[in-house]
């Protein structure tokens, strides 16, 4: 893999940048692979990379309907954190955060991972109790979460001038999550793709999978694509939002419902907020990108949807919430808004498992799956390579629903 550094940049500058290698090849599609991964989004690419890197499985094809790094990795709000509630979740996200922190070095691609810390702005006492429970449970797994005073909240977020004692919902305090950070989502996709490619993994764009193929004994046998059939004994479905569309072609049903989550950015402005602000009581969160845009998110739309659409009322609720705490943003302008799909399970926790179609693996039900990309990829790769679940993901088995054994993380925070 071509090394990226100031030096290589300088060297190439002298030759007019004509000699840079392609970030990834575009080889012809083979008839057969050891593993086929459907979806060149964050989880698909990370799974491919770790299969090659950690388990030496390089005969892997990642098949992508559209463009590499499209899907939700291209549409999220890049918040990386581990302030979860349940014993099953926290260690998984702690692992993911630490992997993110090492990614720039390991992939030789600048993720611009910025440990900004997240500040939860809290308005009510039950919430504070819930966050304290979170804090003390997280401490067991070395994830840091500290209660802070209202004054401290305002010190950390000088632009936060609303939420005073006389306001509709006065701020009563906050929590600081130092492990949280933001980074560059495209870099994550491209970095994994480039590194996986260097290890021999093939990326095939504009190669939509139309159905799954099963052998007579019911095992997975490969996939049918717009470019013809591709054989594989192991297939991983990593297509957030469209999981059921794919799995139903193998007459496999999953407890998933596809929803729409939208986000928007403001016009670019000089630095005004240095931390990730999260306010689940009012229902919004944001951080400022290096380019200067405020990247803002809110609640998802409840209705089922495969249309990346903006629900005006959901959007207005988010804007109203933000202006309540940041009234000076009234004259700031909306620059761009967009939506993304996610498929959600009955308990809002993911499913990462081999299905009851032998050889068919799914990683789905991600609501805020961006922060989970490295750990999700690593643990899926482990499961695919060793045929046994990684301890960090065991709890997210698809059988848990057989016993209605939920992992309820709903209401974790608005920042998904």
């Amino acid at each position: 893999m071509q090394n990226y550094s100031f030096l290589s940049l300088a060297r190439n500058a002298l030759t007019g940048h004509k000699n840079w290698q392609k970030a990834w090849r575009s080889p012809p599609l083979k008839e057969k692979y050891e593993v086929v991964i459907i979806g060149a989004g964050g989880h698909g690419l990370a799974t491919a990379y770790y299969l090659a890197k950690e388990f030496g499985i390089t005969d892997v094809a990642v098949l992508e309907r559209g463009w590499l790094g499209g899907g939700n990795v291209a549409r999220n709000t890049v918040t990386v954190r581990s302030n979860y509630l349940r014993d099953q979740s926290i260690p998984f996200y702690v692992k993911s955060v630490s992997l993110y922190e090492g990614l720039t070095k390991n992939l030789n691609f600048n993720m611009m991972h910025s440990k900004r810390t997240m500040v939860d702005v809290v308005h009510n006492y039950p919430k504070m109790r819930d966050l304290r429970r979170r804090q003390l449970t997280m401490d067991i797994y070395n994830s840091t979460y500290e209660k802070i005073s209202v004054d401290r909240v305002r010190q950390l977020i000088p632009a936060l001038t609303g939420g005073g004692a006389e306001s509709r919902l006065p701020i009563i305090g906050g929590m600081v999550h130092k492990d949280a950070g933001v980074n560059r989502h495209d870099a994550v996709a491209w970095g994994y793709a480039r590194a996986a490619d260097a290890l021999g993994v093939e990326m095939h764009q504009r190669t939509a999978v139309t159905s799954l193929l099963r052998a007579n004994n019911g095992d997975i046998h490969g996939v049918e694509t717009v470019k013809g059939p591709v054989k594989a004994k192991k297939v991983v479905v990593a297509v957030s939002g469209h999981t059921t569309t794919i799995t139903e072609t193998a007459s496999l049903r999953l407890p998933l419902r596809t929803m729409n989550l939208t986000a928007f950015v403001s016009e670019p402005i000089k630095p005004i907020v240095d931390v990730i602000v999260n306010c689940s009581d009012l229902g919004f969160y944001f951080s400022q990108s290096d380019k200067g845009e405020l990247v803002i998110g809110g609640a998802p739309d409840s209705a089922q949807s495969f249309r990346r659409d903006i629900k005006q009322h959901v959007f207005e609720d988010t804007v109203g919430a933000m202006l309540e705490l940041f009234p000076s943003f009234k004259n700031l302008k909306l620059l761009r808004q967009w939506g993304g799909h996610l498929d959600i399970t009955p308990d809002a926790s993911p499913i990462m498992d081999e299905t009851n179609v032998p050889g068919l693996f799914v990683t789905a039900g991600w609501w805020g799956g961006y922060k989970a990309i490295p750990a999700g990829g690593l643990t899926m790769a482990h499961h695919v390579a060793t045929n046994s679940p990684h301890p960090l993901m065991e709890a997210f088995s698809y059988n848990r629903f057989k016993n209605l054994d939920y992992i309820l993380e709903t209401g974790t925070t608005t920042a998904r």
Binding site: R257, Q304, R307, D309, Q312, L404
Partner: protein, 85 residues
């Protein structure tokens, strides 16, 4: 923001309604089904790219629950419940 046709109140803004999820299987007699069938009823819902029957409650209107058929890709409402007298 959908414009939903309530069988009693006619066209109303989505904000007047509460979404009740896609229409799955009817609630079976819990004493006549296997565990698998019961869990299936509780957890499995249709999730098509295209038309789906779904429940809406006119919470800020006439209070009734009804079923419409909506395309999950275009959001077009393809079928409305028959109107009340």
């Amino acid at each position: 923001m959908l414009l939903i046709h309530c069988p009693f109140c006619k066209n109303r803004n989505e904000t007047e309604f509460v979404y009740g999820g896609p229409v799955g299987a009817n609630r079976p007699d819990p004493n006549l089904v296997s565990d698998e069938e019961w869990v299936d009823y509780l957890t499995m819902v249709p999730n098509p790219m295209g038309p789906v029957y779904e429940r809406w409650w006119h919470a800020r209107g006439c209070d009734q629950w009804f079923i419409i058929c909506r395309d999950t890709v275009t959001h077009e409402i393809l079928e409305n419940p028959s109107e009340e007298p």
